[in-house]
């Protein structure tokens, strides 16, 4: 069967041919020669090579010739009614009607002013919004909630990807980091999370075509996780012109499926008329990991461990089997290797460097325009063994065949080469690694050898629980290669001239290949060579191929009497195929043989040899129209239908309507007297958009073979159940907004109030085990995201010399579950007797994010203190007259508190700490989030700008504090535990060390802190060279800048980093925990831009 896009194209070309033939029915029979001479108007010299082109009434070039060395030309024209165009680089183009003449002499004028303009204005369509669908609506008339950021403002940051730079810039857009390693992914949330399952990242649309940012879910890449694919948004920031966020459902409805999480429209730069302008951007930076929390040294650690084990049951640590703590000089190997004060963190930390070069060239003439750029980006991370290399190239070509036919061809190429650590947990292992252990091995005479000290196991366990982090960072490999080529073609044909009816026609191919190679060295784990974790080499390859088409018919008739209307009919298709291939072998002969192609073990159920192929298709049709009257009343309606191959036959299609309107109050006659008011508009919108499940073929019941045999025979098992009931998840959004501009737009305010209801939410709900399955994806309930956003742009002070600007945005979003399936659990099922966990409850109708636990009130200082007391503080006396001990979770657990244990408040004074003593502790959803930034400009050349982001009014669980003071196992702890309870009578707030028992770190308010913060995200000083200076240097533009990032954070929070993305939004039963051990890195960046 022929794919439908082929059919579509046949059909479209047929259409074009039919129409163009009929339009150009009358061909000219007679040919006349026109001759003449072209000279420079100023010095009257001949111009050699000037192009003389005959243009028809649609400005289509019919024929053309160049002038000779004397400036003479002769051209055979096809019609005396046509016109001649004379153009030469550096001169203004002249177009003259032939009007029957046979001799035409022309003098051209130099066009220096044209050149200046090129640099300043760039492409000239900034006053219209591009909703991506093809309508061309002026910004001031848009009816939907959008916000746009010019990328110029962000180019001074050291971000490798634009998503990093977006953080805090746009109200309602929340950008979270996963890790600070180069190439690590980011999550982007627009107005909170609209779906509890599957991807919550917005749809990215680049130059009008959806751009895949997710690896297909069936790519099964061994150890790699989501963060490995950050390269997908690797468009060089310097190539981007602007980014627009579509926020309300009326605007996202136009994109139908996948747009429920919002849409991010990215426009890249295009060429403009003028002589070639070459711009070179370079920036370099250095970043440093800030000081981590202080940890125990080897001696302090050993003391703690023996005390901790002793406290458990009074038996000392058995140092005959645990020689790590024997400190026995007669056992020299252990003695030398386990009597150190190693700083594991320091060993894997380095300064991170970044360099980014980008050269772009743009220019063009009436007919053709081009923008081409090539960039190189190189970054080494602050963790040893991480880095990113990237090459990007882009060519955007525009060609006007005539005023009715236009071509666009864009090609983007990206090559990414990322080095991750083999294991994502290197830093956390380094934090918990026993500090008395040596990094490099000592021999039995006490000499330090260059070999990594990697015992097969020790008291802390073995791989994967622990390993030598430095060896893992240096010898382990996790290498990701990505090649992505995205060619795109667009043909535009004016079916009716003067842009009344335009057919526009896009096809985009996206070839996206990635490869991951990993190697787990025995040097780091020390495991015996017959295990499958030793010298384990994997190689995974995933090839994605995607074809998307879009066919638009845009109708914009010229109406009179203040009416205006525009309509679009759009047909879109998407076909994504992916194949992947995966191999893992182990036990290569040496740490140097790091590729699975080396002879190695291949047969074991731990090992992989697998391939997979998958396909996904969707199709969409959109009808949309905008009507305007007198620039005051605007109404937009749209209807989109979608079909998607991820649903079973019963639920394959979805219909998504939208409507939005705008009333420009300031344009009404009665507002005329308010002269200070430039703009006051009210907007309202309503729309639906849909979401599809994350995986293909889920409506089939698969049988999977076991990867081992039973008694020599192979078996299969049903690996899933078919999902016949799964249907579209629908987001219904309502939005009210207003735009205000006063004092010549020196103060602009955009405000929005919204409510997004997600219906038929996908969620993988847990299933009772007797079904044989763990969970099933279902449409389980309804969730609301509601909130408001305000963006303010001001220029409070402006003179010829000085200009002071201040931008501010603030937003609030609340998630509430409105209804939910009966299968959905109502609590997070946390066990009261398990340390370190908090209770959460699902209350339909209440916002997410609250958590509950015990109140920590100190440490029992002695035996006296552990006696239970009633409400008035008197000791509780038992039936036999004996005093009653404080107990934990009687009768199920029945633990009697002992001196040194953590003391929790007995809320109901029954002498028993149990679930009745659990109280509300906090909420992890911020009351407000946003950012603000002042900018001061002096004489237009020197500019100082700063950007702050903030979250306010939320409580965070300090997971780092919890894990570094729990004294529960053999992990290293922070120096805070030096103040722990040791002897009866000690008054402290740090309980005793207790090995794997007790209840000293139950989820309590001890770890809950107010995490409101304001962070100086970046501060930049930029200097643009003055025109005089530029002339002397004979360059057209030059500037340099210096940026410092993450200089300071104001907060009461005692943990490392309060900026933890709100986890509570993704799962109503989860709560957010800060597990970061190190605050975000400080970076200093220097950049230079030179244009020729």
């Amino acid at each position: 069967m022929k794919p439908i896009y082929v059919k579509l194209y046949y059909c479209f070309f047929a259409l074009v041919i039919i129409i163009s033939n009929t339009l150009n029915g009358q061909q000219v029979k007679e040919r006349i020669t026109v001759q003449g001479r072209v000279i420079d108007n100023a010095d009257k010299t001949a111009i050699f090579g000037c192009s003389v082109v005959e243009l028809d009434k649609d400005n289509r070039a019919v024929t053309g010739v160049p002038t000779d060395i004397n400036g003479n030309f002769a051209i055979k024209i096809s019609s005396p009614d046509n016109r001649l165009s004379f153009s030469y680089i550096g001169y203004k183009t002249i177009v003259q009607a032939i009007s029957g003449r046979t001799t035409v002499n022309i003098g051209l004028e130099t066009a220096s002013s044209v050149l200046d303009e090129v640099v300043i204005t760039g492409v000239a369509s900034q006053t219209t919004t591009n909703t991506g669908t093809g309508l061309n609506i002026p910004v001031r008339n848009t009816t939907i909630a959008v916000s746009t950021v010019e990328v110029k403002e962000m180019q001074e940051l050291g971000a490798s990807s634009i998503d990093q730079a977006l953080s805090g810039r746009l109200s309602g857009v929340d950008v979270g980091t996963t890790t600070g390693d180069p190439g690590a992914g980011m999550s982007i949330r627009i107005r909170g999370t609209a779906s509890l399952n599957g991807s919550a990242n917005p749809l990215i649309v680049v130059d009008g075509m959806p751009y895949e940012t997710q690896i297909p879910s069936d790519f099964n890449f061994g150890t790699a996780d989501e963060q490995g694919y950050a390269q997908l948004l690797n468009i060089a920031p310097t190539d981007i012109k602007d980014i627009t966020v579509l926020k309300d459902a009326a605007s996202t409805a136009l994109w139908g499926s996948r747009a429920a999480n919002g849409v991010l429209l990215i426009n890249t730069k295009r060429g403009s008329i003028g002589k070639p302008s070459i711009i070179y951007n370079v920036k370099g930076s250095v970043s440093k990991q800030p000081e981590a929390i202080p940890l125990l040294n080897g001696d302090q650690y050993s003391t703690l461990i023996s005390e901790m084990v002793m406290n458990r049951d009074g038996l000392p640590l058995d140092i005959t089997t645990n020689k790590e703590f024997a400190y026995d000089p007669n056992d020299p190997l252990n003695y030398y290797n386990y009597s150190r004060n190693s700083d594991w963190i320091k060993s894997i930390t380095q300064l991170g460097y970044l360099q980014d070069h980008n050269i772009s060239m743009q220019g063009g003439g009436e007919k053709a325009r081009y923008y081409a750029s090539v960039g190189y980006f190189n970054q080494s991370g602050t963790t040893v063994g991480t880095g990113l290399n990237r090459i990007t190239a882009k060519i955007n070509l525009d060609y006007n065949v005539s005023s009715r036919i236009k071509f666009r061809t864009d090609i983007t190429y990206t090559h990414v080469n990322t080095d991750f650590n083999y294991s994502g947990s290197i830093r956390s292992i380094a934090y918990t690694k026993m500090p008395n252990m040596s990094i490099y091995q000592y021999d039995e005479y006490g000499n330090l050898t260059p070999n990594y000290f990697s015992p097969a196991s020790n008291i802390q366990g073995q791989y994967s629980g622990t390993y030598n982090p430095l060896a893992m960072a240096l010898v382990g490999i996790n290498h990701q290669l990505g090649e992505r080529v995205t060619p795109k073609f667009q043909l535009e044909y004016a079916l009716i001239p003067n842009s009344v009816l335009i057919a526009r026609f896009d096809v985009q191919f996206d070839i996206n290949n990635s490869k991951t190679q990993t190697f787990l060295p025995q040097l780091a784990t020390g495991r015996p060579t017959n295990e499958t974790s030793v010298n384990r080499a994997t190689d995974s390859d995933g090839d994605g191929f995607n074809i998307q088409t879009k066919t638009n018919l845009v109708y914009s008739p010229k109406l009179k009497n203040g009416h205006s209307i525009q309509g679009v009919l759009s047909l879109q298709s998407n076909d994504t195929r992916s194949v992947s291939h995966n191999v893992a072998t182990t036990n290569t002969a040496s740490d140097i043989l790091q590729d699975p192609s080396n002879p190695s073990r291949t047969q074991n159920s731990d090992l992989t040899l697998a391939s997979n192929s998958s396909q996904y298709r969707s199709i969409g049709a959109l009808v949309q129209a905008q009507y305007g009257y007198l620039e005051r009343y605007m109404l937009q309606v749209g209807l989109r239908g979608d079909g998607n191959s991820r649903f079973g036959p019963n639920n394959r299609y979805g219909l998504f309507p939208s409507v939005s309107a705008r009333w420009r109050v300031s344009g009404e006659p009665f507002m005329k007297s308010f002269t200070f008011l430039d703009e006051l508009s009210l907007r309202a919108s309503y729309g639906h958009s849909g979401n599809v499940p994350g995986s293909n073929y889920s409506f089939f019941n698969f049988y999977q073979p076991y990867n081992f045999s039973y008694a020599g025979m192979s078996g299969v098992y049903p690996s899933n159940m078919e999902l016949v009931n799964l249907k579209w998840e629908t987001l219904i959004g309502k939005n009210l907004g207003f735009n205000l501009g006063i004092l010549k737009n020196r103060i602009r305010v955009d405000a929005e109030v919204y409510k997004n209801t997600t219906k038929d939410m996908f969620f993988s709900i847990d299933l009772s085990s007797y079904t044989g399955f763990d969970g099933v994806n279902m449409n389980v309930g309804t969730m609301d995201n509601q909130g408001w956003e305000i963006q303010i742009f001001t220029v409070p002070y402006k003179t010829a010399k000085w200009s002071f600007g201040f931008d501010f945005n603030i937003a609030k979003n609340i998630n509430t579950l409105r209804s939910v399936s009966e299968f959905y659990p109502k609590t997070n099922g946390v066990k009261i007797d398990v340390n370190g966990q908090y209770q959460t409850y699902l209350q339909v109708g209440n916002p997410f994010g609250s958590y509950y636990g015990f109140k920590f009130i100190g440490v029992y200082k002695d035996a006296e203190a552990t006696i239970a007391t009633d409400a008035s503080g008197n000791q509780i006396i038992g039936p036999n007259g004996q005093v009653v001990q404080m107990r934990f979770n009687y009768p199920a657990t029945d633990y009697q508190f002992k001196p040194g244990d953590a003391m929790y408040e007995d809320i109901n004074h029954d002498g028993n700490i149990d679930y009745k003593d659990i109280v509300y502790l906090g909420n992890g959803i911020p009351k407000f989030t946003g950012g603000f930034g002042p900018a001061i400009t002096y004489k237009g050349n020197l500019k100082l700008s700063a950007f702050f982001n903030y979250r306010w009014g939320y409580q965070l669980i300090n997971g780092t504090k919890m894990s570094t003071t729990s004294m529960y196992d053999f992990n290293n702890q922070s120096t805070a535990v030096l103040g722990r309870w040791r002897n009866p009578g000690d008054v402290t707030d740090m309980p005793r060390a207790l090995y794997k028992s007790g209840y000293n770190w139950l989820g309590s308010d001890r770890y809950v802190e107010d995490a409101s913060f304001v962070r100086l995200r970046s501060v930049t000083l930029r200097y643009n060279f003055t025109p005089d200076l530029l002339k002397q240097l004979k360059i057209s533009t030059a500037s340099f800048y210096i940026t410092a990032e993450n200089l300071f954070t104001w907060t009461k929070y005692t943990g490392q980093d309060p900026d933890v993305s709100a986890r509570g939004e993704t799962d109503p039963l989860s709560y957010n925990v800060d597990n970061s051990m190190t605050p975000p890195g400080k970076t200093v960046l220097l950049g230079i831009t030179v244009g020729f």
């Binding site: 439908i4 259409l15 039919i18 998958s614 081992f708 299969v716 007797y770 099922g829 009261i832």
Partner: protein, 505 residues
């Protein structure tokens, strides 16, 4: 003219679009087996049945823990998890993941899938005969019965799931079935299996690794013994014995002089290291492709369990006069006494100092039924049905084979079923050490005749309870409802119709 052709083109466009849409969006997976293409041939049925067995590997760990750690033969190590310690200390809560029955129900679902879909294959594969179908179904029914039997002994009451889950449209919430319903189901499943199961597959490994009629008889014997139906139990045992397919591997052989008998050094190797010996009835067939979970459990330096000191001190004992005279099932067979390593699954040989299996060769089989079990089950049933003397003679067969030491010999009154069965229990502890049977033996022996003999369990608890928890544990175990595990919290949350077991409500 212009307009006409334009509308014509648009019309064509719309027609093409709507007609091909449905086909275009209908994508089938290019690789992978889907149900619509499966269940066509007898090979498909066989693969699905073998899949049921393959899923058993996931249950081994659970079967071991449920069957052993509440007993007296296991000690925790410093690496035992908090959850394991909690169970050992009698602190059992529904939040403890050890109480999860998930892996067993997975196997049940696979069995149900075979039971639901295999019969349809008769229509599509004409070479597939009803008798073949029934023998495959017998395997599925027997495995399902075995899983329910394990759960019933552990939880007291469980929901009875008899339908496969193949579509989200067929999900439903179950209630706990009564004990009797589940028993009836087990009995009828086994009756079908007994009737239709083959007696041999012609290949030894399959005879020991798949359900045969004798495996069904063994399960029946166990079930009837638990249900205190002694005649039926003896019948089932007799069917196995009468088959002549099984026998005990000699524990002693004649010495070089032809007179003195010496310990058969091959016994351990044959029965436990290699597995599938003549005395084996049903074993999970681990091999070098699929390792058992016992390396990290018993062998590695971070092992979670070891044999209790009681195992050598009281259960096997040593001969104080002659250290070469030992119970062949003791040191270097069940346990390495020097460090308590559970040698039955860990060892490669039975001579001092012993070489444990490595992480890549840890594929000792999991022994479900051995012939000695049949003999001892029969003995137990005899003891309670007036055959005390015959019971003791069966015990002696086992004892003699294993060279049981005089220190463990007792002479119970053949007419006192309690004394005889206590003696059998002690012998079972020696014979089936660490095979996941100890706790069920203790429970069966205590609960018989409405907990007439609960003192048996309490005596054992007294021995193993940590000093500060002894009274607490004794009081707890006196409440007989505490002998069953609580239903895991997860199950209660996902099914509102499930009721927690009485002790934990």
């Amino acid at each position: 003219m212009i307009k006409k052709s334009k509308y014509l083109a648009l019309f064509l466009f719309a027609v093409i679009l709507t007609t091909s849409c449905e086909k275009w969006l209908d994508l089938k997976p290019q690789d992978g087996i889907i149900r619509q293409n499966f269940w066509k041939t007898k090979e498909d049925v066989k693969a699905a049945v073998i899949g049921c067995y393959s899923s058993l590997f996931a249950t081994t760990q659970t079967l071991f823990i449920w069957g052993e750690i509440r007993g007296d033969m296991i000690s925790p190590t410093i690496k035992s998890s908090a959850e394991q310690l909690n169970i050992i200390n009698g602190n059992i809560s529904s939040s403890n993941s050890i109480t999860s029955w998930r892996v067993l129900y997975k196997t049940i679902n696979y069995c149900n899938t075979v039971i639901d879909f295999a019969p349809a294959v008769l229509a599509s594969d004409k070479t597939f005969k009803e008798v073949d179908l029934n023998s495959y179904l017998a395997e599925a029914y027997a495995l399902r019965a075995l899983m329910y039997f394990n759960m019933l002994r552990s939880f007291g009451e469980v929901p009875l799931q008899l339908k496969s889950t193949s579509s989200d449209a067929s999900l439903e919430q179950l209630v706990k079935s009564s004990q009797q319903e589940v028993w009836d189901q087990i009995v009828s499943d086994l009756a079908f299996a007994e009737q239709n199961a083959v007696t041999t597959y012609g290949i030894r490994q399959q005879d020991k690794g798949r359900i045969t009629r004798y495996t069904v008889n063994a399960i029946q014997a166990d079930v009837y013994l638990w249900m205190e139906k002694y005649t039926e139990c003896i019948d089932a045992c007799n069917k196995v014995i009468a088959s002549g397919q099984f026998g005990l591997i000699a524990g002693k052989i004649l010495g070089d002089n032809g007179i003195d008998s010496i310990i058969n050094s091959q016994w351990y190797y044959t029965v436990f290291y290699l597995g599938n010996s003549n005395e084996s009835i049903f074993e999970f067939q681990y091999d070098n492709q699929i390792l058992n979970p016992f390396y990290s459990f018993f062998i590695s330096t971070s092992r979670q369990f070891m044999g209790s000191p009681l195992v050598m001190d009281e259960i096997y004992t040593v001969d104080p006069l002659d250290d070469t005279n030992k119970d062949i099932r003791g040191d270097f067979s069940s346990i390495r006494s020097s460090d308590g390593m559970i040698w039955k699954f860990a060892g490669t040989n039975n001579t001092s100092p012993g070489t444990p299996r490595t992480s890549t060769s840890s594929y000792a089989h999991w022994f479900v039924y051995r012939y000695s079990d049949i003999l001892l089950m029969k003995a137990e049933a005899l003891a309670w049905s007036g055959g005390g003397a015959e019971a003791l003679s069966l015990v002696n067969v086992i004892r003699n084979r294993a060279n049981a030491l005089a220190g463990t010999a007792k002479s119970p009154d053949p007419n006192s079923p309690n004394e005889v069965s206590d003696y059998i229990m002690a012998e079972r502890a020696r014979e089936f050490a660490f095979e996941g049977k100890r706790w069920y033996d203790i429970l069966r022996n205590s609960k018989r005749n409405n907990y007439a003999h609960i003192q048996y369990m309490l005596d054992i608890i007294t021995k193993i309870a940590p000093g500060d928890r002894q009274q607490y544990m004794l009081n707890k175990y006196k409440d007989v409802r505490s002998h069953y595990l609580p239903i895991n919290l997860y199950e209660l949350q996902t099914d509102k119709n499930l009721e927690q077991n009485p002790f934990y409500q």
